[in-house]
């Protein structure tokens, strides 16, 4: 596989190669990502707002009078609320992405390595899960376990592991007959040693990219569930919860409740998407076409 040779020696060499110098869009995406990350992490940490109390004197103030982003219907500063919501959304998305990747790698390796009925079962499972509308599954699970963070993450992992498992399985099927794996078998290595020393490292790169690209997807799913009012409870508001408030606020003409959370939602998904696509391009030796 010419792919794995390139993929390894790696990132160091590759990233210094002129051909792979990031295009402006990618640099901007990284910068936006850093900024958003800093904002989401630092602002709630420094300010610590009490979301359970309300200050109706400051309710629904426009940007300017009510701080940078204005205030919401309960009088909270939207600048802080968006940061807090962003942090929760990102945390859930990251947890989901890591969990799905681990689960996907596990099942992918299992399917690719054992073959036979195990492989057929897992493949069938992937096909079946893929055919179902994922958000619908999420809606059911989350509405049964209302407000549970674990249920949200579980429902997201349940529908997100498939892609990673597919990639890993395909990679392992390709490697199963690689000569270095045959040499490893002949030299007396056990199945688990081969998985650990040869197969996991080979599928790690692709899985990491898959993980990055899962993050925007997970943000979407979670915010959709929260938007529908069955996700997180109000005092653990994610971006989706904030946007659920926006519908009522819109009718009162408070556009800022829609604009700022949406802006961050789009910026986060867009920048992670661009960065992830660029990483894929680098791995495949082609520059991402953005």
């Amino acid at each position: 596989m010419s792919f794995s040779i390139r993929a390894w020696t790696p990132m160091l060499e590759v990233s210094w190669n002129r051909r792979f110098l990031p295009s402006p869009a990618v640099s901007i995406a990284w910068a936006v990502l850093m900024l958003i990350g800093g904002y989401a992490f630092i602002v709630p940490w420094v300010t610590n707002v009490d979301l359970l109390s309300a200050d109706f004197a400051r309710s629904g103030l426009a940007p300017g009078a009510g701080g940078l982003f204005g205030t919401d219907s309960a009088g909270h500063d939207l600048f802080i609320r968006v940061a807090a919501g962003l942090r929760i959304s990102l945390t859930i998305a990251l947890t989901t992405a890591v969990g799905s990747s681990l689960f996907g790698m596990l099942l992918g390796i299992l399917a690719g390595m054992t073959g036979g009925w195990v492989d057929r079962t897992i493949t069938r499972l992937m096909d079946g899960m893929n055919a179902l509308p994922h958000v619908l599954l999420g809606v059911i699970i989350v509405s049964l376990f209302r407000g549970s963070l674990l249920a949200i993450v579980a429902s997201l992992v349940l529908t997100h592991w498939i892609q990673i498992a597919r990639i890993v399985r395909a990679q392992i099927l390709g490697l199963r007959h690689a000569e270095y794996v045959e040499a490893a078998w002949l030299s007396g290595m056990s199945r688990w040693q081969i998985i650990w020393y040869h197969l996991v490292p080979a599928s790690l790169g692709q899985s990491m990219i898959g993980l990055v690209l899962l993050i925007p997807h997970a943000i979407w799913h979670e915010s959709t569930l929260s938007f529908l009012g069955i996700g997180l409870s109000v005092h653990k508001a994610s971006l989706g919860t904030l946007l659920a408030d926006a519908q009522g606020a819109l009718l009162l003409g408070q556009w800022w409740l829609l604009v700022f959370p949406s802006l961050f939602l789009i910026a986060v998904t867009l920048s992670i998407g661009i960065v992830g696509t660029n990483l894929t391009g680098r791995m495949n030796g082609v520059r991402g076409s953005i």
Binding site: S4, I5, A7, W8, T9, P10, A178, E179, Y180, E182, A183, A184, W185, L186, S187, G188, M189, Q193, Y197, H198, P201, A202
Partner: protein, 211 residues
């Protein structure tokens, strides 16, 4: 006497219109410990297939392969557990037979038996120790093939199968690897040298079979 032996091995692949294609037809071959058996023949006669069958990478359709009296099963499965590690193999392309993500040192140390002195082994195939820190992409084909030889020997097999090992090498490297094979055989191992190069086989092997 200790030997790696193929008896009446038949290998059939796939299915064409006139039934399965028979690659090997009732082949018998014995590699004795302490000697080098050369296997030559035009391309397409199943030299490589026979080598892989004897290593346990391919299961013969009929017939039996035994190693020191034990049956050689599928090396990837339970049936090959008894002889796993007793038969080593060197492949034609070192690029494909070494994991590009592992340094040469890791590749060798991973499978070396505890009593093997890797540094000495490396010196014996004419490499210096600093190469051990490099990745396959950072060394030449010849260096990599020597490292592959060191790896094969490091697992301390009783027999080694060398499949067209010199096809991509310069004469000097070939000589080094051949020396390593001779040393291995002198220590009581058996070797099966598969090559289309009659001169090489004639010069190295104790006995030559034409397939």
């Amino acid at each position: 006497m200790a030997c790696l032996k193929a008896e009446n091995v038949i290998v059939e692949f796939g299915r064409s219109q006139s039934g399965p294609v028979r690659i090997l037809d009732k082949v018998c071959l014995t590699v004795h410990a302490g000697s080098i058996l050369g296997l030559t023949g035009p391309s397409g006669t199943g030299k490589t297939t026979l080598g892989r069958v004897m290593a346990g990478l391919i299961q013969p359709s009929y017939g039996l392969v035994t190693c020191d009296g034990f049956s050689v099963g599928n090396v990837r499965g339970r049936s090959g557990r008894t002889v796993q590690g007793r038969i080593g193999m060197m492949f034609q392309s070192p690029r494909r037979s070494c994991n590009p993500k592992l340094t040469l040192g890791k590749t060798i140390r991973q499978i070396a038996k505890p009593d093997v002195d890797v540094d000495e082994l490396i010196a014996s195939v004419g490499l210096t120790c600093d190469l051990l820190e490099r990745y396959p992409a950072q060394v030449s084909d010849g260096q990599l093939q020597r490292a592959a030889m060191a790896r094969t020997v490091a697992a301390k097999p009783n027999y080694i199968i060398l499949d067209e090992m010199s096809a991509m090498l310069d004469p000097a490297t070939t000589a080094t690897v051949v020396n390593a094979v001779r040393r291995f055989v002198a220590n009581g191992g058996g070797a099966l040298l598969i090559s289309h190069d009659h001169e090489l086989v004639g010069a190295v092997a104790d006995e030559v079979r034409n397939l």
